[in-house]
Symmetry: D2
Subunit: 285 residues, 4 copies
Amino acid sequence: MNTDGDLHLVLSLSCPDRPGIVSAVAGLLAEHGGNITESQQFGDPSTGLFFMRVQVQTAAPRDALEQALGELAARFDMEWKLDVVGRPMRTLILVSKAGHCLSDLAYRQRGERLPIDVVGVVSNHTVLEDLARFYGYPFHHVPVTRETKAAAEARLLELVEQYDVELVVLARYMQVLSDDLCRRLEGRVINIHHSFLPSFKGARPYAQAHDRGVKLIGATAHYVTADLDEGPIIEQDVERVDHSDDEQEMVALGEDVERRVLARAVRWHAEHRVLRDGGRTVVFR
Amino acid sequence: MNTDGDLHLVLSLSCPDRPGIVSAVAGLLAEHGGNITESQQFGDPSTGLFFMRVQVQTAAPRDALEQALGELAARFDMEWKLDVVGRPMRTLILVSKAGHCLSDLAYRQRGERLPIDVVGVVSNHTVLEDLARFYGYPFHHVPVTRETKAAAEARLLELVEQYDVELVVLARYMQVLSDDLCRRLEGRVINIHHSFLPSFKGARPYAQAHDRGVKLIGATAHYVTADLDEGPIIEQDVERVDHSDDEQEMVALGEDVERRVLARAVRWHAEHRVLRDGGRTVVFR
Amino acid sequence: MNTDGDLHLVLSLSCPDRPGIVSAVAGLLAEHGGNITESQQFGDPSTGLFFMRVQVQTAAPRDALEQALGELAARFDMEWKLDVVGRPMRTLILVSKAGHCLSDLAYRQRGERLPIDVVGVVSNHTVLEDLARFYGYPFHHVPVTRETKAAAEARLLELVEQYDVELVVLARYMQVLSDDLCRRLEGRVINIHHSFLPSFKGARPYAQAHDRGVKLIGATAHYVTADLDEGPIIEQDVERVDHSDDEQEMVALGEDVERRVLARAVRWHAEHRVLRDGGRTVVFR
Amino acid sequence: MNTDGDLHLVLSLSCPDRPGIVSAVAGLLAEHGGNITESQQFGDPSTGLFFMRVQVQTAAPRDALEQALGELAARFDMEWKLDVVGRPMRTLILVSKAGHCLSDLAYRQRGERLPIDVVGVVSNHTVLEDLARFYGYPFHHVPVTRETKAAAEARLLELVEQYDVELVVLARYMQVLSDDLCRRLEGRVINIHHSFLPSFKGARPYAQAHDRGVKLIGATAHYVTADLDEGPIIEQDVERVDHSDDEQEMVALGEDVERRVLARAVRWHAEHRVLRDGGRTVVFR
């Protein structure tokens, strides 16, 4: 088959589960000359929802495909997104003073391992300004105090709108977003929590972990919801510790897990591999 | 939808890759009232082959479905298998003296974690007879010496035919099968090699590993081909070791990896999740 | 050096940390002609305690060594134990219906991978009687109802005394021990909790894990204290799960982690590698 | 005890194994008012060598301690090193075009997670000059062709001498060092090999791994010897891959393992935790 000049598209969708969905989607794509290069689906018996992600090469015009999908979606009560495979997602990264996550995301982005377009780095401190600028990211210093919190969030929203931001990454941003902001950006904000949730919610999880004498420490990347540290989990991982690791050493080991876990979550989100399934996620890796 | 009395089937197939396969298969299943509960596919650019595994619930008669699949297969030059989900695969387990793999497989089989029907245990020793009998498996003592090797293999083939064996598991069977036997049973024999292949082929891999000072030891489950230790790999895993682990300790740690890796490979094979892709495997987990 | 006929001993100790302990212990052992084959120590700044484990080969009479150690211990306010390396620890295993942990411990014990002498298996059910008997372990059926709980615990204590039991393993024993029994046996009871503590304490942790949508499930081996699921942790491990794993599949995957974690904890305890450090443990692996 | 103004020293040593070494060393340190904060030892039965690493706080003058150690060393035929805990080791990093390892080492060094003092970065290309300069490392462009190889190695040795370099890190430096240079710098050069040695020695290991259909890919950090890819292994780790990962994806996944493994090896070396034991290493983590 000749695929020169073809579009390589990714379609992700969810809808109530019922027979015939795969056949209908595959049939529609075939009618538009589509060649499926990757496809995954999952029906969740506990929520009754069906999820699908398809990568397809096609010579058909994108708007014709979109119109056909719109009709199909109406029939199946479907939510769907169509995007070009590999298109960098417009991303805003929020940080405070710790730079391990920003450094890692930036390195991967520059090396073309992470399909994001970093439209800006926002911080309530200036420690990481030089790192951001080294990677060519516009840096915005937005200090946050109790008095200026509302103004700071307004500035954040302004940036989100100005750059048409699709994804906000809290890369160890040590401020809690207001419920209102969480709701406005729901599904578009990924946080890295420095603990294996649901253990050790809240502050200083490594101190808690050391006190409890755990033998593994972990990190959790999740979507941010108004319910702090309770949003749908995208990815988790752990690292082994032992009695000789004090809190400081656990923090150092934890940073490695945090950046690994966050990088995976951001990549999967940017590749449209993560779908919401109630309070959980479906991740088509 | 009412699925009482429906069949739950698993279809696995491979064929040369070209547009329209997913659509054709999904369409065929939809025409037979099938509800797809699980589906995975993969096109390998390096071999030009396409692989698919679908689980489907259907009220249609199985022979009607098989006839339709036969016609489709002819059109796409497809190899395919249709089976009932969860049907235990008739399995013969070959062992020598080490029982860790047999013990593990047996425990999982009895606990309904492994869809195999162990039709017999064959050994060139009698050490494991009581373990086999405890689990209710017929035990066959087939000693092997240089003189009796041909007769032993004939006896093995006889058992394979008598019990219509679908899978032979070499669960630390310390005899090398003849090229001829390998060819006759190709695709139906899984071996556990006590090393992270392709490192340390051949005898006493843990001694080799200790001499080389490796920091991880591993195990590899693979299909047996005439080319010793070179068959397509199904699964691998590793365990951390350090300078204080001598060969004996590595053997002990290795046994844990071996039985874990073998159990996974046998389960995936019995669930029709492993497809041959030249010298490699596609594993739809 | 000639070590034929020498004793191979293991000394474990803890005391308030201060300079000179290692030198004093090493000096004492050297005076008794001891050759240190393995030694580890750890000073915990957060509790001010010092821990040490030494394996030593010596031709000196054991009682001379014990007397010298007793004097040293008095000087350093030391708790200590001296044992023969590899001596099987007298162990009672408690189970209910699930046999994966018992099966695994038994297999390792028989294969001489676990230095325990299983003096009996106690169960509130009879499901695992044949498994226990296959491995040659005396089986005691001690049913537990609300009315008979006190009598059942009395019977348990009787067995502990009768067999001079050093270690009680709760190998998925689904009864909560009374506070009084916990206190009497403190430091001698190891439990396997089917969750990555402190997440998901209490009942049906895999259902909780599935609801929360975690991406890793775990297991925790810990000493039993009167404070349920809060005893000092000995070992933890995790296994990866994804959206397609329902509660039942998580249970199956969890069983593998549970038996792996429990086997390690029992082995380390039986080898005197685990020392209590307040609410934590020091594990000299 | 008052440890203000005390030195915190690390002593690492190896010698032929015989009774009394631990006692002699601990006694010597106690005589100099030393308080042992960390200590590990290992006797290797297969080589007959004994290894020890001790961290000790002491108010004694360092030269008095060194003189006493010198006398002890003569008695036990001991090789030993004494250093200040945490002193950054003077390190030269060699790179070509791939920056994932340099980026990771630099980030850790700046965050004080890695006790090295990067006295320079040498490359046969200029791609990574800006990264090196961002972290404040002097950058030396030393091109290598068949004709200039000898001159390039001479320049390298010059830098090693000029900066009194203690450690040379080949952070994906794509040039093979000459046998002569390997011998001159033996024990001071760490390489990261992009494969799980001894599998896939030589060029393009990820292509080899993909062809073989392995299910795990790995990386190996080892000391460089004249025998290419055969030097003593310091650390290894793996990452899971599956049939859908092509060579390019394996390379990307491999980079994560490589930088993790190299960072650990460099840290352990810089902390004097790695001791040579013939063709193997003892690593006191």
